[in-house]
């Protein structure tokens, strides 16, 4: 039983990271209909910048804040450089552009640092003991951040004027422009927001893994799988999908074999798509790939 709870906590913790990634991807997808293939690079950039600042002597909290701000800025740059100029081009082109940005970001980081580094955890202890269960408190922090971020976003989109405007325009960009909503600003906000979530995910995950230039590759794919599980374009679905992927991965790693854990989630996704082409949510949110 204790191992089950440990696996559960680890799975939910890891899943929270994936959920944050998937959430960011979904926000960008819903508002821009582009699947941001540089999301993994943003995740990595968040971890990397925070780590370098910490190693340079900056306090943990400050380093985290600066790193998130920096990645948010990168997100804004991607919006201006690789997204807005391509608004009317083919979809394949837009996807390639985000791919290109990913290469550039990963390339720059890879050029600057050659090796993999370890990142110190947020709380100084390696493990915490509650009753007979030992686990890494970092996982609880991950879950906590997801809850906070999720709630904050939900409140923002539901109760603030800006949030409501964005929600309205997201589903109907053309209508929004007609009503006078500054659609370009919406794009900017959503890209920045998405990038921020990716950075947070990266910083959270960093202490439990190694920080390297390519650390974002797998989480990116996992986030995509999470979105598929939860139904593409669905915000609650992305969170549920993320948590599921975390549980599948940790569960697979622990109960079957470490090799399988890595692909367990993907096999699940593949099977799901074969059986139910619209993901778990059925005929829920259906993001139309904008045909030019």
């Amino acid at each position: 039983m204790t191992t089950f709870i440990q696996v559960l906590i680890a799975g939910l913790g890891q899943g929270s990271v994936y959920a944050l990634m998937a959430l960011g991807l979904t926000l960008i997808l819903r508002s821009t209909t582009v699947l941001n293939f540089s999301h993994g690079a943003l995740y990595m950039a968040g971890a990397f910048i925070a780590l370098e600042l910490i190693r340079a002597g900056v306090g943990y909290a400050l380093a985290v804040v600066i790193a998130i701000a920096a990645v948010a800025l990168i997100g804004a740059i991607i919006n201006f450089l690789a997204f807005q100029p391509l608004l009317h081009k083919e979809h394949v082109t837009q996807v390639f552009a985000t791919f290109a940005m990913s290469s550039i970001i990963v390339g720059i980081v890879g050029y600057v640092t050659v090796d993999q580094r370890g990142m110190p955890p947020i709380l100084p202890m390696q493990s915490v003991r509650v009753g007979s269960i030992t686990f890494n408190p970092q996982y609880l922090i991950m879950i906590g951040v997801l809850v906070v971020a999720g709630t904050a976003l939900a409140l923002f989109f539901r109760y603030t004027r800006a949030g409501v405007v964005i929600r309205a325009s997201t589903d109907n960009l053309r209508g929004a422009t007609l009503v006078g909503i500054n659609v370009r600003r919406v794009f900017l906000i959503m890209w920045t927001l998405g990038a921020t979530l990716a950075a947070i995910a990266g910083i959270l995950a960093a202490p439990t893994t190694l920080v390297s230039a390519t650390m974002g590759d797998t989480p990116m794919i996992t986030a995509l799988a999470a979105m598929t599980l939860g139904g593409f374009g669905s915000i609650p679905g992305s969170v549920i999908g993320g948590l599921l992927m975390g549980l599948l991965e940790t569960g697979g790693n622990f109960y079957v074999s470490t090799q399988l854990g890595g692909v367990a989630g993907f096999i699940a996704v593949f099977l799901l798509l074969v059986i139910r082409p619209r993901g778990l949510q059925g005929s829920g949110r259906h993001v139309e790939v904008r045909r030019v």
Binding site: P85, L86, S103, G107, F270, P277, G279
Partner: protein, 318 residues
């Protein structure tokens, strides 16, 4: 004007003449690089069928490229003559392409893209773990090609490999062009732009897309098989995202939906790749910037844009 329109053979023929002359003008190393280009030409013109013409977000490029290398390479280590290993690679690509496509082609664009990535990961998982067959992480060596028709002797010289590659690439190119201008090619085009209209014309869009996947997978596998022989080694990690990005770049730079463009893109990228290998660590950045620049500046790829300027060079659907 109308003769040109009917599908410029001028450019491809000119390229062919240059290609035949090249080995006599260049040294062995350069000849080898161009050899490599042939493997990618086959892969690229095939990949364009699914990605460019049928408009599918196919992330399957490196998966099938690797499959071809694996199948042909493995059979080669068992002593099977090269004609047969290449045929086996094509068959493997077609069969797996059919199985994969049959369940995924009906999916919406992004879902389909994800299945391509998943396929790539699953194949990689298989290569890394089925050590007995695949050699695990470190793969296995692939012997030099030996053709029954050539009396079973092994090919070793760069020039010989070059011309064999040319003999594979030219028919592949011609067939791709013919398909592109056939009823099948046209049906892909309509199915891509306006599926409702396609259905109204009697085109079963699902079947058309499945065909595109099968054909592109067979082409990719053939290209990968030859790539294996040229690399002399099968290595699982060389068939992941970097390989996929390379294939994407070839298509984008050459211009989607142009067979000549894809071929040119392959040659350009192979050389670019070689050149960048000297600047270790910066290649990703340069690739990324080039891809971004290409995508921003040329809406139809370099070849596509050029051929737009000179209307007569446009690859017509007829």
């Amino acid at each position: 004007m109308s003769a040109l329109r009917r599908g410029s053979v001028a450019v491809p023929v000119a390229l062919l003449i240059v290609a035949i002359a090249l080995p006599f003008l260049l040294n062995g190393y350069h000849v080898f690089i161009f050899s490599m280009a042939f493997a990618y030409i086959i892969a690229a013109v095939g990949f364009d069928m699914a990605l460019g013409r049928a408009g599918l977000l196919a992330f399957t490029g490196s998966a099938f490229f690797g499959l071809g290398a694996f199948v042909a390479g493995r059979l080669a280590t068992l002593g099977v003559p090269t004609e047969l290993t290449l045929l086996a690679a094509i068959a493997a690509g077609a069969v797996l392409g059919f199985l994969y496509g049959a369940v995924t082609v009906r999916l919406q664009a992004y879902y389909f893209a994800i299945t391509g990535i998943v396929l790539m990961l699953l194949l990689n998982f298989f290569y890394r773990n089925a050590e007995a067959i695949t050699g695990g992480y470190s793969g296995f060596s692939i012997p030099a090609p030996s053709f029954l028709l050539a009396g079973g002797g092994t090919l070793r010289s760069a020039t010989a490999m070059y011309f064999v590659g040319l003999c594979l690439a030219v028919p592949a190119f011609i067939v791709a062009r013919l398909i592109g201008r056939s009823r099948v090619g046209r049906s892909w085009r309509v199915a891509r732009e306006a599926p409702a209209v396609a259905e109204g014309l009697g085109i079963n869009v699902w079947r058309a897309r499945l065909l595109a996947v099968v054909l592109s997978s067979a082409y990719l596998a053939l290209g990968g098989a030859w790539f294996g022989y040229l690399s002399l080694r099968f290595l699982p990690e060389s068939f992941m995202f970097e390989q996929l990005l390379l294939l994407f770049l070839m298509l984008i730079i050459g211009g989607l939906r142009s067979v000549t463009g894809s071929a040119l893109g392959a040659v350009i990228l192979i050389w670019f790749n070689q050149y960048l290998a000297e600047f270790v660590g910066v290649s990703d950045i340069i690739y990324g910037i080039s891809l971004l620049a290409c995508v921003l500046l040329f809406s139809r790829g370099i070849y596509g844009t050029l051929s737009n300027r000179f209307r007569g060079f446009r690859e017509s659907l007829l």
